[in-house]
Symmetry: C2
Subunit: 587 residues, 2 copies
């Protein structure tokens, strides 16, 4: 089974030429962040991904995790692989130097995160969750909590979790029931949480849980939810570990994929109450949790890119190697990569992966700008674009990852269905991506609701202006057909959101009915936008083979993938009527 | 977990009103085959599926199969469930009464097969393969072989297998190496076969393998392949079982799905040679094998319909039950089925499933007509349509089954990713359907090659004439938008195959490059054709609720699903250039 190799030349192109991340570093006044550093980061990160994390991916899937009396035991080799990651400083790249972080822009962490997720998505989930917890603590916790927890978490010595879901409260957090009762300087937390990723494990000596629960005087609904920090082991004043807290993994789920990532049922307070500390204001827990969810959503989108790229690499290697049938235009039996239908699948995988990567890295760049750009106007504009791009980066990248990993199996034929080949694992692992951190439906509702109806389409209008400007600037090299499709795609996005704005008042079903199609339409069009830019910008690349292949992929995307917007537009245009016309009890 | 129930009202509608299968029975001169019999068949078959086969589906997935010293041991309860199927006469419905069959038209077996596959696809594969073997023996074997094997196989007392694939010879059977050496009145078979479905098991006392191998004087390539019958136990003159033959399962594959169906590596002749008997003429094995593959391809398409329907039923039940969030237009938290985006997924599942069922049953009807219609012209016309419909029924139905089972998981949210829920199994099981019995790519090449280029588009032209006639006859009840989309879809199919005919000579890559998109385009358009017919024909249905829901599903299909043809057409129109433009070694 081929090990993962990071697509360094592609990553460097996206970073340098497509999105100018080193330039961004100057714009946000961080002189440590330059192109040389980034190139060094990529090279070293690839080594860890390739040599340490990737070889454990399939064995980890086969072995899975195990709940023992002493807690969750993870797959062989994972603890050491995680330790190498933490000790290499990979966990701390973007965090506050005051707590031991390296202070780099968030977007600089994207290639590192992509490599980690591609090499081993199950293991990669552990730092992904830790990062979210660090962000929430940094933004909302007291100085005392920060002083106690941040340094260890940023160093990767302790990991973090997010505890939202309860059996009856998944997407609908208003329904959650876990309670927090004041006691001395802390709270006693009671309740059961499910789907807690890396909720327990034996890789580090402590785990820091962030838990949503209700205070005794909490109003009903989402306005009565508070956020608490609940460590697995209490921390003494001197920083050493104290008593075991009353929080335990009751069960680990038996899942379709990410077998090596423990998904735990967590029980808080079975023996009187787990000691927890309030993070942020009472009843303001949801907002605090969303602090960590926004970046997490982008990184889940990036997981889609990562596993897509790995599936592509695996499929290319097989297609180059597997000899079967005489391809058209050839006289002898040869590798299946010569067959046009196999090439179609590979090009589709490649085109969608590159487009999704461009969108995710663009999103990350604007997260940095939203925090650090020079003027309030620039920060606000960046923040607006982040708002729009995040549901697209998460929703669309993970949806196309389904198709890409599916093609990966398909190219292997019967061997793809056999687990030993490894292609099936990518499809099984990828399956969670459109579900966790908010399903595609939730991303789509966020896009049509808060992000479009919520600002009367101002953000969408700006995005469309930006895309049209780029068509003028970068569209000259396209064929007339490619250009026409790009223009039509942007027009379709405008038509779609205008319909949303003008008809939602009279048809309350419309936003939900067209939300998925609008998300997918936006994804394909944003992908086309970035592939068009890439095709123009790559002309100055040092490696002319790389440039030619990027332009070929861009052409394939604009000709064969972008036209899918037409089906989505047609579905949007017709509205909600037939979609809602069978009674729920008659389905 | 809800058990599968056959959609009897829908099946009866498709059988009676949409395709008039009882009327077909008269046309093919089989007075035993009437509507009453068919209704009774459906009711009884549903009982077996619901009460016996369906409850074993998930336990079978979890337990899997096991290779022991005594051979393959299948999951608990499977042997008894299979026995009930055989003893109930379900295996013998359509076979020759001379050998104990019931002589019903092939199309009458479709609902029974659909129920079996929906209830338990792993178990359903066993009779599927047996049926193929029976068909090949009936069509090609000597009277002596027929006398020895057919009655037991038709009764389901012995099962059958198809042995084509070898490690180096999958799609490309020209590469196969297994040998057959003449010895007395038989042959000695040697070689290794892989991916042999139900290649060994402990459910019946004998297994009849049909094996492709080369005679000593065989020419190279596919014209040197012969077909042999190789029983697990030799059969004595009196019909009793004799010595164990030299054929053994070496291994069972560890697969992504259909865990309860043993997929075997079979070894022939490790101890001197397995005794086999020639079926048909020397070197004509491939044609004989295709006798059994054609119907098998349709039934794999039907497996797509079956598992799609089961996934739909499961998702509806969950969506009606799971309470989460306040849907638009409502004042309280309620079941998620009230949310438009959930309804979109359910309607997509429903629309695609009903369209695929209509196509598969239409295909089956024309298989009967191709054998038994009154005139040679009618038989030939039916045969032509079968040729076109089979790759569509197999390719498109199994591709949409991927999407449908994917939505089934998605509607369950996080619970869908957890195996205990059962939704994930449908997606994992369905994954094999676009691979075995010829991948989607092979179906697509069959459609563009032998079935379109091969007859200069005559079959496609006839199909389009038939569809346009039906638009005139059945299109009046459609909205203008639905009608326009249907007409545009048919025009697109015409445009696509005309491009294929006119440009393939100058661009040898074109057929392969556009084959998948042409297959999918044809599938969506044929689905629209049948949903349009259904919408008109259902007006006379006794149950007006059923009629209204069928019309709503048809409207949804024509408005939201049929427009997908536009993306496929755009991809076809642009041809092969960018698809082939990256060198294989540079991917």
């Amino acid at each position: 089974m081929p090990e993962y190799r990071a697509p360094l030349e592609e990553m460097n192109f996206v970073i340098d030429q497509l999105h100018d991340l080193p330039g961004l570093a100057a714009a946000i006044d961080n002189e440590d962040a330059n192109a040389e550093l980034l190139a060094a980061v990529l090279t070293e990160s690839d080594k860890l991904a390739n040599q340490v994390w990737s070889p454990l991916n399939w064995p980890g899937d086969q072995q899975g995790v195990q709940l023992t009396d002493a807690g969750v035991k993870v797959a062989d080799g994972f603890a050491d692989a995680y330790k190498q990651y933490a000790e290499g400083g990979w966990n701390s790249l973007c965090f506050d130097p005051e707590y031991g972080g390296q202070g780099l822009p968030f977007s600089f962490s994207m290639p590192v995160a992509e490599m980690a997720q591609a090499a081993n998505m199950s293991l990669g989930l552990c730092p992904l969750l830790t990062t979210g917890a660090i962000e929430a603590i940094t933004a909302h916790a007291s100085e005392a909590l920060k002083a106690t927890y941040l340094e260890k978490m940023i160093a990767g010595e302790w990991t973090g979790t997010m505890n939202l879901t309860e059996p009856h409260a998944g997407t609908d957090l208003a329904l959650l029931k876990s309670t927090a009762t004041p006691a001395d300087d802390h709270y006693l937390i009671k309740g059961q949480k499910i789907f807690i990723t890396w909720g327990d494990h034996d890789m580090t000596e402590n785990i820091v849980h962030l838990v949503l629960a209700r205070l005794p005087d909490a109003p009903a609904g989402v306005k009565g939810i508070s956020l608490f920090l609940v460590p697995k082991f209490l921390v003494n004043e001197d920083g050493s570990l104290g008593q075991r807290n009353d929080v335990y993994a009751l069960n680990v789920e038996h899942k379709m994929g990410i077998h090596a990532s423990p998904t735990c049922v967590m029980s808080y307070g079975d023996n009187g109450g787990a000691i927890g500390y309030l993070v942020g204001e009472p009843h303001a827990g949801l907002a605090a949790m969303f602090t960590m969810m926004n970046n997490a959503r982008l990184v889940v989108g990036l997981q889609g890119v990562a596993i897509a790229d790995r599936a592509y690499q695996h499929a290319v290697a097989y297609a180059q190697d597997r000899v079967q049938c005489i391809a058209p235009g050839r006289s002898e039996v040869g590798a299946i990569i010569h067959h046009p239908d196999v090439r179609r699948m590979l090009m589709t995988m490649r085109g969608l992966t590159e487009a999704a990567r461009a969108i995710c890295y663009l999103n990350a760049k604007h997260i940095d700008l939203s925090h650090h750009a020079a003027t309030p106007e620039a920060r606000s504009a960046a923040n607006k674009l982040v708002g729009l791009l995040t549901p697209i980066a998460k929703g669309w990248s993970t949806e196309v990852a389904q198709e890409i990993t599916y093609h990966g199996v398909q190219i292997h034929g019967g061997m793809g269905f056999v687990e030993e080949t490894g292609a099936a694992q990518y499809q099984r692992d990828a399956r969670i991506l459109t579900i966790y951190e908010g399903t595609t439906g939730i991303q789509a509702l966020d896009l049509v609701g808060r992000k479009t109806l919520g600002d009367s389409g101002a953000g969408m209008a700006s995005l469309i202006v930006a895309m049209r400007a780029d068509v003028s600037e970068y569209g000259q090299g396209l064929s007339q057909l490619q250009l026409d499709t790009m223009v039509a795609g942007i027009d379709a996005l405008e038509q779609a959101y205008q319909k949303l704005l003008s008809e939602s008042a009279e048809d309350p079903m419309l936003p939900g009915a067209i939300s998925y199609d609008l998300l997918m339409l936006a994804g394909y069009v944003c992908g086309g936008w970035q592939m068009m830019r890439a095709s123009a910008l790559v002309t100055s690349h040092d490696n002319q083979d790389f440039a030619a292949n990027k332009q070929a992929t861009s052409a394939y995307y604009l000709e064969h993938l972008l036209p899918r917007f037409k089906g989505h537009l047609a579905s949007i245009e017709v509205g909600s009527e037939s979609l809602m016309s069978i009674a729920p009890e008659a389905m």
